[in-house]
């Protein structure tokens, strides 16, 4: 893993500061909502990146963990009055446990087989929640709207607090991803991505590390799920467990560049405003034009930017370092000659 250069550090801090002051300049709820969605999908994409980008498991079932997180905290809050912050942790634990339970039998699946198994899993979860009376079946759950305060994860006068909470969550997911990517575990993940068999021969416990990746990712997705539930205050299987939602997570990561820490965040920053504003502009008639444009966008992106936007950015960066290295080489050679 490369060390962060001063220029990158400054750029990062600038972006962070801009994100922090953003709500002071933009008050319009629609724009704030779009940015909240960008951060939420940035978080989900980062979570996906850990299993998809680093460990090479292309999961199309992350929405199930998102939904499990949303449902766990909401169910506990509606029925037992449990604080959503505790529900957040509970949801994460439930999602991680389910991920382990489903990930273990799937640990010998590769490539397409793994992807299709994740779709089947997500569909099972959706069908079960669609028919399970205790969690409201197809009617979903409506969260209570009393006691708005930070300690109850509920605010009714402005979207700003939600913005800062999801910003914090997003940064947490980036930090987690950074630690995963730069630790020994990250190297194991990449080894597994390149070749299971070689990784295994080199002494990597493939099954264990795949499980760890799936569990971390599921926990982060569930956190986003709880946030979504507290933000929208109404969930049903069709809003938090639908397959296209999963596809959007994968798409964001791909567009930004899977396997780089900031890739999914960049993907979210491009794709979510694009799809949200087309929906706002064209979706009102309900004749499918907004989705038509969205589908077209996906096809075009994957045809012309299959490696993601991040690869373009880093290619420019790499060229720069290569020329500077070249200069250093020359200087060294010159000093040797002398």
């Amino acid at each position: 893993m490369r060390k962060v250069s001063t220029g990158q550090f400054i750029a990062g801090v600038t972006v962070l500061l801009l994100l922090i002051v953003f709500p002071f300049f933009v008050h319009h709820p629609i724009h704030l909502h779009v940015v909240i969605l960008v951060l939420m999908f940035g978080m989900l994409g980062t979570a996906w990146n850990i299993i998809g980008g680093y460990a090479g498991m292309y999961s199309f079932g992350q929405v199930a963990f998102f939904g499990l997180g949303a449902y766990t905290s909401s169910y506990l809050s509606v029925n037992f009055g449990l604080n959503p912050w505790i529900g957040l942790l509970a949801g994460g634990c439930v999602a991680a446990a389910v991920a382990a339970a489903i990930g273990y039998p799937c640990s010998n699946l590769r490539g397409h087989y793994f992807s299709i198994a994740t779709i089947a899993f997500a569909e099972i979860v959706r069908i079960v929640f669609n028919n399970w009376k205790r969690v409201g079946a197809a009617e979903g759950l409506t969260l209570p709207m009393d006691k708005p305060s930070f300690s109850h994860f509920l605010f009714n006068d402005s979207k700003q607090p939600y913005y800062y909470i999801i910003l914090a969550f997003f940064l947490i997911s980036l930090v987690v991803c950074y630690f995963v990517a730069t630790s020994k575990m990250g190297y194991y993940f990449r080894a597994i991505k390149e070749s299971h068999r070689v990784a295994e021969v080199m002494g990597v416990n493939v099954v264990l590390y795949r499980l760890i990746a799936v569990m971390i990712s599921a926990f982060l997705c569930a956190m986003a799920g709880t946030f979504y539930a507290q933000y929208v205050l109404y969930i049903d299987p069709d809003s938090v467990m639908l397959l296209p939602f999963s596809v959007q997570i994968v798409l964001i990561s791909m567009l930004g560049g899977a396997g780089s820490i900031l890739g999914p965040a960049i993907g979210a920053a491009i794709l979510i405003p694009a799809s949200e504003y087309t929906r706002i502009a064209l979706g009102a008639k309900g004749n499918g034009v907004d989705m038509l444009v969205y589908g077209f966008l996906i096809v075009v992106i994957s045809m012309f930017y299959p490696e993601g936007v991040w690869s373009l950015i880093s290619r420019i960066g790499r060229k720069k370092t290569r020329t500077s290295l070249h200069a250093a080489d020359k200087a060294e050679a010159a000093s040797a000659q002398r």
Binding site: A117, A120, E123, V128, V247, N287, G288, M303, P306
Partner: protein, 286 residues
């Protein structure tokens, strides 16, 4: 009880054979190009709508619109391969998966835009009514659709095993590099198998339109089931898809019979997950 059970068995086999036909097209594409075509269900929807409009506008019975569906979808498949899929074949695996998802969303919403999201049903065609045999009902459109599936699958197998072109497809499926060395134009084979895959699902759509609801989102359900059938039957195996289709059809109806019809697809997917846990490459995969 036993009569009802027998009825469920019959229904399971009848719907299972249609699943097989949908899945054979998918498995061919998957096997030859190593691409999962997530737009496959939407190709089915296009086939169903084609058959619907041919009947509504030109009074061509679905049974006779099958050849039109076959060739129309064949050309559509070839075109999609040439202009879209071929471009992403060289790209990473992820881009190949996502591009077909994009096509799926596009085709589905194009149908919503053109024909509204309404549910439609063809009026009774020349295939109608039921046939009773010892207390078990056979719906005639379903029987014809299943028989058609069997015939179409048989034709595909004959084509693959007996003709030079079919053997070239199988060779490409087994070992792409070796096929190139034998002088097979694998690019043409890719296009051909994508076309045949789409054509087969078009035929399945024409058969299904005689008794199933026609609406833009119909592809989602059938597509997901077809993935399970393919993965269950094994990578690129036509015979496997045939057997797995019947298996899935039976799992669906018997699961609905013994547990709860609301959970029938959850049962199908669970059985699929258990099967690939035991046999990761599917029943007949290699």
């Amino acid at each position: 009880m036993s009569g009802q059970l027998l009825q469920q068995l019959v229904d399971g086999v009848l719907i299972g054979l249609v699943y097989s036909l949908v899945a054979i097209g998918l498995t061919l594409i998957w096997g030859v190009m190593n691409i999962v075509n997530f737009a496959h269900g939407d190709f089915l929807m296009v086939g169903m709508f084609a058959s619907f409009w041919l009947y509504t506008l030109f009074h061509i019975d679905p049974l006779f619109s099958i050849p039109i569906c076959f060739f129309g979808m064949f050309l559509l498949g070839m075109g999609i391969y040439r202009f879209i899929v071929r471009k992403v074949m060289k790209g990473p695996l992820l881009a190949q998966m996502v591009v077909t998802f994009g096509m799926s969303i596009f085709i589905c919403n194009l149908a919503v835009y053109l024909w509204t999201p309404d549910f439609r049903l063809l009026p009774p065609t020349i295939l109608q009514g039921t046939w009773q045999f010892r207390g078990i009902y056979f719906s005639i459109p379903k029987v014809v659709a299943s028989a058609g599936s069997v015939i179409a699958s048989g034709c595909v197998l004959l084509f693959l095993k007996k003709t030079n072109m079919g053997r070239a497809i199988l060779a490409t499926e087994m070992d792409r590099d070796a096929a190139v060395l034998m002088g097979i134009n694998t690019d043409r084979i890719n296009g051909l198998s994508f076309g045949i895959g789409a054509a087969l699902v078009g035929v399945a759509g024409a058969f299904l339109s005689t008794y199933y609801y026609i609406y833009p989102q119909v592809g989602g359900l059938f597509g997901t089931i077809a993935f399970c059938v393919v993965a269950l039957g094994g990578f690129g195996s036509v015979e496997g898809a045939l057997i797995a289709g019947i298996f899935v059809g039976l799992a669906q109806t018997l699961g609905g019979f013994f547990f709860d019809p609301a959970y029938k697809y959850a049962i199908v997917f669970s059985i699929y997950l258990i099967t690939i846990w035991i046999k990761p490459k599917g029943l007949l995969g290699w």
